[in-house]
């Protein structure tokens, strides 16, 4: 287990290094950040002054060297546009994104798994077919459309929920959290539901497929014959054996939602990470993009690590090496 962890850590460092190189290379093609910061009629002297202030007067290689050097000392660089440390910009927006993502995956798991078990155990029923058609909608409807429709119905038409923003938030250990206030919850519902739909549909379909496979197994019939309740068999024996692919997909989806909740955040004017990424790309703000993507890579590596551990809990036959 320790060896496994160390191996994973080494892999992680390698992945992060690769991301930093790729982003640095890519950013040299996406335009000159100086022109995003200064007035366009600046003279050459003013442009040079701005380059010096931003540290862009050196060669690409030298800039990368400085970046890595600072990184090793825990300094992730400053945004060209904001002038603030890039890490600070990201961390101050992370809690908002985590809130809608966590709520979204909870909604997805709580709704998808029972429905998937039901549809998998009773494939012939009309209700199962209805569930499956519904999940197709969940996969195929684009998030921005669903978001706009929810705003139109729940905010503009029925005046039930606010259309956008984060509402009241309270501060806990320096983090702004909105799920501790009623107003915050009212703001959370629509974006979280929008964000959960795609994941919900995928989880549902995978759970169902796994359950259909598993219910045909002899040990299921045997357990029933021994007198275990139907419910006990489905969840205790069936779901447990169908869960491995569900957990895999769940982990990938979680990482995906944290990193790329952009569209949902834009539609609901949710003050999360996604908008920062888009704005930074538009403004060629390299320090922010580098740190953002490295953080995303880190999140994926960590989630995969956790998923591997969860495998061993679900199925004791699996060990990590």
């Amino acid at each position: 287990m320790l060896g496994y962890t160390i191996k994973r850590l080494l892999q992680m460092v390698l992945v992060l290094w690769a991301v930093s190189v790729i982003v640095f290379l890519m950013m040299s093609f996406t335009g000159d950040p100086v022109f995003m910061v200064i007035p366009i009629d600046s003279t050459q002297a003013e442009i040079d002054q701005a380059r010096r202030i931003l540290g862009l007067d050196r060669s690409m290689l030298a800039q990368y060297g400085i970046f890595i050097g600072n990184l090793l000392q825990g300094d992730f660089g400053r945004s060209y546009v904001f002038g603030q440390p890039a890490m600070e910009l990201i961390l101050e927006r992370l809690p908002a994104t985590m809130e809608i993502v966590v709520l979204a995956v909870v909604i997805a798991a709580v709704v998808a798994i029972p429905l998937g078990v039901y549809a998998g155990a009773n494939p012939g029923r009309a209700s199962s077919r209805a569930i499956m058609s519904g999940s197709l909608l969940g996969i195929s409807l684009p998030g921005f459309w669903v978001g706009m429709m929810l705003i139109f119905l729940f905010s503009v038409r029925w005046h039930l929920l606010p259309s956008s923003g984060r509402g009241d938030a309270v501060e806990v250990w320096g983090l702004r959290l909105s799920f501790l206030t009623v107003d915050g919850w009212r703001h959370l519902i629509l974006p979280s539901v929008t964000l959960s739909l795609g994941t919900l549909a995928i989880l549902l379909r995978i759970t169902r497929a796994g359950m259909m496979e598993v219910t045909r197994q002899d040990y299921m019939k045997f357990a029933r014959a021994k007198g275990v309740s139907r419910r006990g068999v489905l969840y205790g024996h069936g779901l447990r054996n169908a869960l491995i692919p569900v957990v895999t997909i769940f982990g990938l989806q979680l990482g995906d939602l944290i990193a790329f909740a952009t569209i949902t955040e834009t539609i609901f004017a949710w003050p999360g990470l996604g908008k920062l990424l888009i704005d930074s790309i538009y403004r060629a703000d390299r320090p922010v993009i580098v740190v953002y993507l490295m953080l995303v890579a880190l999140i994926f590596v960590v989630i995969n690590f956790i998923v591997d551990i969860v495998y061993t809990l679900i199925d004791p036959r699996i060990t990590v090496k």
Partner: protein, 519 residues
């Protein structure tokens, strides 16, 4: 940090509201504004874009004030005069206080200008050599040459408190700004909202609106929805497709105003042009430039692509500007006429046309990519095969930069909030590489000694009427020479609920001090 005060502010606001209600006093007025994006800075010398600019003018004041219609008048300076051709003396308004109660003094002006010259925004102070405090309420400003438009330039320089900046430090000014302006920063939750609180001691009188909340909502449809649900009182940049919807709703008004942003097409005038595979650049011939101008139908662009929400531009600067030539209209001089354009092309020896590339943005101006496509089909009628090279703005401004080795034909936008054509003409049309600070964005390498001379003359008189005269003559030359084709001004579109008293500003800087709300 601002965030840590959240709870306290809410408590304060809450108890203030209760106290007022109990006393039966006038109800506190508040206004909620929907912006297209969050402010980036509260430090006016750290960068500029519209949302930040809007915040700057709430918190800080300039020496010279620019009103909604681009008229310039006294601000923190009550009056000013010239002592010699390059020396201006500004008399500061006595009794003005910063938000922290300290007095506004001449040393703050000097500090502001010195700090500006070393900042990313040094360009704003390009025509200032030095500022010196004569006494607490008198500042002397020197220009590098006689420069009549100095007061206009000063309208863009916002005065900082020397003591405050030194106390909080350069990088922290963004999160704890302090000026003399009509509002103070209450709280700023990034990407969520900015709350400004009225400064009751403002030197022009306390603002009518007590609390202003700005919410950045990037998605235009969400902005409209938030207005219709009553979450916002007024929104900026209403989407064109929502105009009819909002007009049809009872209780809401749509307000439009032509902006200052002039979309222009710059033509390369060098002997050899990068994207034209001919030995001689056809656009060096006036007839070809005129043919291109006549082949472009600005009215169709306005009606079809801009849904009527653009105003064809008559000249390079709007009528409110110093240097505007009354009565002259580019599109009346060279009206849309394909046959005449074809004839001009034939006369110039290009009856078979030629191929060149248009460099344009696809995310900077309203419908910029569609305008590019329309230009391609319009120029095809006179056999100019216009290739489109569209790119995001982050690439564009580096790509087209002088010496513009890649470009023959460029579409970009230009606005002159200083209200003075000279600041545009000197950087855009003055011969390149002959004078520092002149011609640095002359992307087409246009050069006309007569025009250079007029700009030199304009920049050698400290008297604004003389300057205006020279610049009007310059406008005449530019309209004749056609170094660029002016296309249109975009229109700013706002929507507000009834009861919001609001007049849009030409410079787009929403200013709550000028606004009021009636319940």
């Amino acid at each position: 940090m601002i965030c840590s005060r959240t709870g306290a502010w809410r408590l304060l606001l809450g108890s203030a509201a209760i106290a007022l209600a109990a006393a039966g006093a006038v109800e506190a007025k508040d206004l909620k504004v929907g912006l297209t994006s969050d402010a980036v800075h509260f430090d006016p010398q750290a960068g500029e874009e519209l949302s930040s600019n809007i915040m700057f003018y709430h918190v800080y004041d300039p020496l010279v004030r620019r009103d909604a219609d681009l008229n310039f008048g006294p601000g923190l300076a009550e009056s000013w005069e010239l002592t010699d051709d390059t020396t201006w003396v500004f008399h500061l308004r006595p009794g003005v206080r910063f938000h922290d109660g300290s007095d506004f003094k001449a040393s703050d002006v000097v500090f502001t200008i010195d700090r500006l010259k070393a900042s990313l925004m040094a360009n704003l102070g390009a025509n200032i050599v030095s500022a010196t405090a004569i006494d607490d309420l008198t500042v002397e400003i020197k220009t590098p040459f006689p420069y009549a438009a100095l007061p206009n330039d000063l309208a863009a320089i916002l005065i900082l408190s020397e003591a405050h900046v030194k106390a909080v430090g350069d990088t922290e000014l963004d999160s704890s700004p302090m000026g003399t302006g009509p509002y103070k920063l209450g709280e700023w939750i990034k990407e969520d909202h900015i709350t400004l609180l009225a400064n009751p001691d403002y030197y022009m009188g306390a603002p009518k609106i007590d609390t202003v909340t700005f919410r950045p909502i990037t998605n235009p449809a969400t902005r409209t929805a938030a207005l219709l649900t009553g979450e916002l009182d007024i929104v900026q940049d209403l989407a064109v497709r929502d105009v009819d919807r909002v007009k049809g709703e009872a209780g809401f008004t749509v307000v439009t105003r032509p902006s200052l942003l002039n979309i222009v097409l710059a033509m390369d005038m060098r002997e050899k042009s990068p994207t034209i595979a001919l030995d001689k650049n056809p656009m060096t011939d006036h007839r070809v430039r005129e043919a291109i101008a006549r082949a472009i139908d600005v009215d169709t662009i306005s009606a079809v692509i801009m849904n009527g929400l653009s105003t064809p531009s008559e000249q390079f600067v709007p009528a409110s500007h110093v240097g505007y030539l009354p009565g002259a209209d580019f599109h009346a001089m060279y009206p849309f006429d394909v046959e005449a354009a074809e004839q001009l092309m034939a006369d110039a020896g290009y009856a078979d046309g030629f191929t060149m590339t248009l460099d344009a943005t696809n995310n900077r101006y309203v419908n910029d990519a569609q305008i590019g496509q329309a230009l391609a089909s319009m120029l095809a009628k006179i056999d100019i095969d216009l290739q489109l090279n569209l790119m995001p703005k982050s690439n564009f401004f580096g790509y087209i930069r002088v010496p513009s080795d890649n470009s023959s034909f460029i579409m970009s936008g230009w606005d002159v909030p200083s209200g003075d054509a000279g600041s545009m003409y000197s950087v855009l049309y003055y011969t390149r590489d002959v004078k520092e600070g002149y011609g640095q964005v002359n992307r087409g390498s246009y050069s006309n000694p007569a025009l250079d001379a007029l700009i030199d003359q304009a920049d050698s008189t400290p008297r604004i009427e003389e300057r205006a005269g020279y610049l009007r003559d310059a406008t005449r030359i530019l309209l004749d020479d056609i170094p660029m084709i002016p296309v249109h001004y975009e229109q700013d579109i706002y929507a507000a609920r009834d009861g919001v008293v609001f007049t849009p500003r030409t410079d787009k800087f929403l200013w709550a001090y000028d606004m009021d709300v009636a319940e």
